[in-house]
Amino acid sequence: MPYPTEPLEILGAWVGALLTIFIYSYILWRENYAFRWAEHTYIASTFAVAIVQAIRLIRTNIVAPLMEGDIRYIVPIILGLMFYTLPFRRYRWISRYTVSFLIGIGFGVTVRGALSADIVKQILSSVTAPTGGTAMDWFNFIWVSLGFVFIVSYFTFTVEHKGWYYFPTKIGRYILMLGLGVYFGNTVQFRMAMLSGRVQYLLRVFKIIPWP
């Protein structure tokens, strides 16, 4: 794609670059007017996009079928409207029916899949030996299965972590810390990727490197 040629596109690219600089000004000068303005602009534009999307969604998924005579859609409309009584202290109780409905459905749906996906299959995978795998597969299996047992022992609070039980819990704690270190390393990668994306964008807008 060539560098934008339309005035509005060029303006958009420069506004993006300036907002990026304004946001990063926080790093150098803490809270300042440029940062605050960019932050508010971001929130406002995100909110605007959300409203437009919500209106489109309601029109397509609720209003259109209702206009075609499918009166079942009145139920979610009423439940949705009930939610808007939340700001009014006197009528707040009405919104609780919507909330309880959402929690009930959400919990039921989640538990249905979670038992198998997050518990049974994970335990089976942790304690099942590889069939004819490489030495690394066996190392992984032993590491994961022992780590699993040690970490579970660390989170067992009904038995005090002392005597013979001290060592597995201690090892479990170290393995847990190792895992958190890996997780944090990935977090650093994520943050650096975000920053590199912004640097790349600025270089493109300033025509130092080609537009994608």
Binding site: I27, A54, D118, M194, L195, L203
Partner: protein, 287 residues
């Protein structure tokens, strides 16, 4: 301890954050201006996804679920683009939807980088993807896990029309699909929890293969699911994108960004070492 007493060790332990940020910013810029072309090794999880898609063909339908926002483009977009290019090269049918409000912007960004995907009003040439027959963009879908579950059960109950408002029964590709059983693969791109929703509601209940093209933090959390066979492949953020670009021999923004990432990680390690040397050298003063 007064300022005058501060030794070089203390200065090492207390480097001004502004120096770190400026060093980082300038070092990140260098590889974009003068690419270092450092090699990218291929992870097992990336190769696994590549192999899986290699096994798909024009009779298969793949769902791309975009649950990563515009803010995560540097991490997720290279992978999404590379995977979409691969799907297009295999002739696989594609359905795209998303649960984040800025999904339209991400779709436009993918389309700009995969020009074979054509909107309904665009002219279709040889090798292009005709809208409605080869690919469909549903747009935003509301709701969390219950919506993902409902999509798996009956797509038509949740989606009434595509992004352009065309009723679902008038779209040839969507009229072929009833639910999760008709989908060969779900590629989910996440910054949050949606990947788990697909694993729980699509894979666990219907056995639909799932692949994750998410941010780097998601990768660590998905490794157990990959080991358990619940996920067929994972791309680790921008790095995963770079690996996939290497595999499909289509260098893009992932590979461009890898040099910058490598340099930034080296700088981070350098400052960690400097800070720790300073800390241990000055421990006696602090006591």
């Amino acid at each position: 301890m007064t300022e005058a007493e501060k030794s070089i060790w203390i200065k090492m332990a207390e480097i001004d954050r502004r120096i770190i940020y400026w060093a980082l910013f300038l070092l990140l810029a260098v590889p974009f201006i003068h690419p270092l072309m450092l090699p990218v090794s291929i992870s097992e999880t990336t190769k696994s996804l590549y192999d899986f898609i290699e096994g798909l063909g024009p009779d298969d339908i793949v769902v791309i679920g975009i649950q990563s926002g515009v803010s995560a483009w540097p991490e997720c977009l290279p992978g999404l683009v590379a995977v979409t290019k691969h799907l297009v090269s295999r002739g696989v049918k594609i359905i795209v939807w998303g649960f984040y409000t800025d999904v339209d912007m991400t779709m436009n960004a993918i389309k700009a980088r995969v020009p074979q995907l054509k909107w309904p009003d665009e002219e279709v040439g040889p090798g292009d993807y005709k809208y409605g027959e080869d690919w469909v963009y549903v747009g935003l879908i509301a709701g969390g896990e219950p919506s993902v579950a409902a999509l798996a059960d009956d797509l038509h109950a949740v989606i009434k029309a595509d992004y352009f408002g065309t009723p679902i029964d008038q779209i040839p590709l969507l009229s072929k699909v009833k639910g999760a059983k008709d989908i060969a693969l779900v590629i989910t791109s996440d910054t949050g929890d949606y990947g788990w929703y697909y694993v729980r509601q699509w894979n666990s209940r219907y056995g639909t293969p799932i692949a994750e093209v998410g941010i780097a933090m998601i990768y660590s959390e998905f490794i157990p699911y990959y080991r358990a066979g619940q996920v067929v492949g994972l791309l680790k953020g921008c790095r995963g994108g770079a690996e996939y670009e290497t595999l499909i021999k289509s260098p893009g923004e992932g590979i461009q960004r890898m040099d910058a990432l490598n340099v930034s990680h080296l700088l981070t390690i350098f400052f960690i070492i400097i800070g720790n040397i300073g800390y241990f050298a000055t421990r006696k003063y602090r006591r």
